[in-house]
Subunit: 349 residues, 3 copies
């Protein structure tokens, strides 16, 4: 019954969003419809991910979720790069990183923590995630620091080299975490499976692909309405890029992570939130730089001081909270408090 | 015998300080008398706190001590806010934070460490304290960073919002540490009580209140002499606010923490030092901003680069030293070395 | 057989370097000969150190290695100070710190990690090293931060005071780690000795001294060729000081640490890499400031923003990777990636 209602709303909201988009209705209406659609599509995606994760093992499942969640963002960002909107790309990269580390992780930890007193996960994984995040912060800081005494050409050269190094480092990270040290990083806490698998392996994968396509479509329609919407309500580009786009674009990780936290699989939720941040910083961002180079107009990897401060602050607080491999509701509050303070500062700037 | 001598000096030094203050004697004499009085009043406070802590449990005792120690500072700061001396308020907030984290903690760890080879405390508590301190640092950094491109009105708005958020976060922290996760944060290392309670429960509380009132009075008289004293010896306001006022104002935490460390209750000593820093950053500072708003002249929460650097450096080094839940004499040396370097830099500026 | 070949090349390369140097051959030839000689001399030093370490205990052995490795650097730096080349001294100090923490540690961890899945070492030692490194970073940041509003005289005064404090702190650290808490910091993982001692105690010490003298001589000849070499290939002084000199000057630590890592003595390798960084930051650098004061032209301790950023970044990433007391090949990759990014940035600046 409940299942049926869910799928009805999913399909209806998707259909209405499509109609609103292609018939060019008012941007506010389009925005509202897309928001509803994206929430249900993300819910669908979460279900499919969990099912795939059942077959693939929890960690690979978390990785798949991060990948599928970021596929949409990567596609949108490529279109922005193509139009030369480099600043908005970087604002949305920033927003995705801090949104995942503070909002997604914060909500998961808070809601999970309200249900369970303490939630534990593999502490080694937390340590590696923290080191990776530090690498990302360092890799984004160095170009911004040196860019001040660089020519544009030197900045672009450094950006491109750093991008290539990061992609190699990320590929080696996959080799490390999926092949050579796979066992060590498995999340023991979540290994006791509940056996409520709805779909076969093939069906799960198919549904995951379908959900990803739906999320990507709706996200694109949503982004299309944002410009008008921004002007109507007098918001700045930085705020829209770093907060609105990022929140909506990460709705998938969002609901998936929160659902997992509520099922006491906080390890998988952390993996989605931090894993997604890492993938954006160490894979999506450098890939966009490399793509922009081949498109003829290299996007540098130089973020603004505000963006760097937001990323650094998020990495430090997420590290401090996740490093003991155990979470509780108050740690969720701390993450959300930092997110809100950053949001207000970006809104006022 | 020894007890009697202590109380004689306590009462005599308090009486002489009062006489010196109200009869308007030389500021250097007033200063000297108040210094002696505050040391003994703080000693008295330490005894009363330990006694109350015996009845209340060690952690609540530590919290009480921090609260009572900061009551004096809060009252003084309110008078400064009333007179519009915002810069000195912020200098003394800075000084209290770094004084507690470096000087009080450093001396406790050093003196405790000279007596006991290794002292252990609840490592979870250390982790939470570190995360809270990071929140404080972040919450003070963001306004300072964004203030550069803000109007005064925007800065005040951001300061006020951040202040309200911090007070809420601090209230939730009390809910977390005193109610929902009380057991987890109890300091096991210090649970073996020595049963040398001198006073009844009621008497202990009464004496604690009395001691607090005495400390507050003496502190105020002391602060009254400082302006003249400052000019006489050619010191800067920043140095006086951040070092002299803070050292004297925190004498209570000081002696209490050192006494506890010498009794191998390093957990309670850490709780006083870090707890007091947290309370100042996350409660006293934002409350002062809110009070200043109601007084009609909003004090912003924008600290100078020097103050922020001092707070950040203190938080980082205190975190690094306390995070393993064990201390030794050399870690005390490290904290004191950083304090001395900061002191010299502030003195020369 | 193999042994004999090694000593033949060692003596031959040393002799040829000496001839090349004293007969004034082409700088490129001198450079090439010295590079070969230094690698073999460093290998000899590594053997002698291991042998001495066998008699002295592993940790003291690690310390000896760091000391002997840095003796050469200290001598060279004194000559630079004498000529008033303060900027190059600071660049080479920076380079030694980051070279040890990123390149030496990174290569040891990577090569050790390719042979052993996980390598463990004393986690307490890692914690102390991290706290010491933070002290070093703080002690170098404070003067740079305050120098902006200081006169030259004030900066020199602060530099000198900070230098004296650091030397005292370092002496107390030796007291702590070698005397009062020696047992606690012993590296258990490496205690199972393999008994393949080649030399007697006396011979080991003699050979260690001989190796150090050889390394010092070759290093000096090498540095002598660098100026010409720099101009020939159009490199900047900052890059040469911070990368070329540092890599060659630390070749000893380098090969010793990598050899130890390959023998699964990663604890000793970490001790060499981090211990050497600490010794340079907390002992060599301040001693140079004090020596410069007695030479009549005080060298301040104010590093450039680029140098400070490089040191801070190295300390943070080395701390994050070493704090769990276990290493693997990917952590080596991370350290090397950061080193390469910094190298490219310094090269382009």
């Amino acid at each position: 019954m409940k299942q049926k209602l869910f799928y009805t709303i999913l399909i209806a909201s998707f259909a209405f969003s499509a109609i609103a988009h292609y018939s060019g209705m008012s941007s506010t209406l389009q925005f509202a419809l897309c928001c509803i659609a994206v929430i249900f599509a993300a819910g669908f995606m979460g279900k499919a991910t969990e099912s795939v994760a059942h077959y693939a093992g929890q960690r690979l499942g978390g990785f798949l979720n991060a990948t599928f969640g970021n596929a949409a963002e990567l596609i949108i960002a490529i279109f922005l790069v193509k139009d030369g909107l480099h600043d908005m790309v970087k604002a949305s990269i920033t927003g995705s990183i801090i949104g995942n580390m503070l909002l997604v992780l914060g909500l998961s930890v808070l809601i999970g923590g309200l249900k369970f007193k303490v939630q534990n996960f593999n502490v080694k994984l937390a340590g590696y995630n923290a080191s990776m995040m530090l690498l990302a912060v360092v890799a984004l800081f160095i170009p911004a620091l040196f860019a001040k005494s660089f020519t544009t050409k030197e900045t672009n050269t450094l950006s491109l080299i750093v991008a290539v190094i990061l992609v190699i480092a990320y590929a080696l990270w996959l080799l490390f975490s999926m092949v050579t040290h796979k066992d060590e990083l498995r999340d023991e806490a979540g290994d006791e499976e509940e056996h409520e698998i709805a779909w076969s392996k093939g069906k799960s994968i198919l549904y995951l692909l379908l959900a990803t396509v739906m999320v990507a479509f709706i996200s694109e329609w949503l982004v299309g309405t944002l410009e008008e919407f921004t002007h109507k309500f007098g918001l700045t580009e930085l705020f829209v890029g770093a907060f609105l786009i990022a929140i909506i674009g990460n709705a998938a990780e969002h609901s998936a992570a929160v659902f997992l936290a509520m099922k006491n699989k906080i390890g998988a939720a952390v993996e989605i939130a931090i894993g997604s941040s890492l993938q954006i910083a160490l894979f999506v961002a450098p890939v966009l730089v490399i793509i922009s180079f081949f498109m003829g107009q290299t996007m540098d990897i130089v973020f603004t001081t505000y963006e760097l401060a937001a990323i650094a602050v998020s990495a430090v607080i997420a590290k401090s909270i996740s490093q003991d491999g155990s979470t509780n509701w108050y740690e969720g509050v701390l993450l959300l408090v930092v997110y809100i303070i950053l949001g207000i500062a970006f809104f006022l700037v």
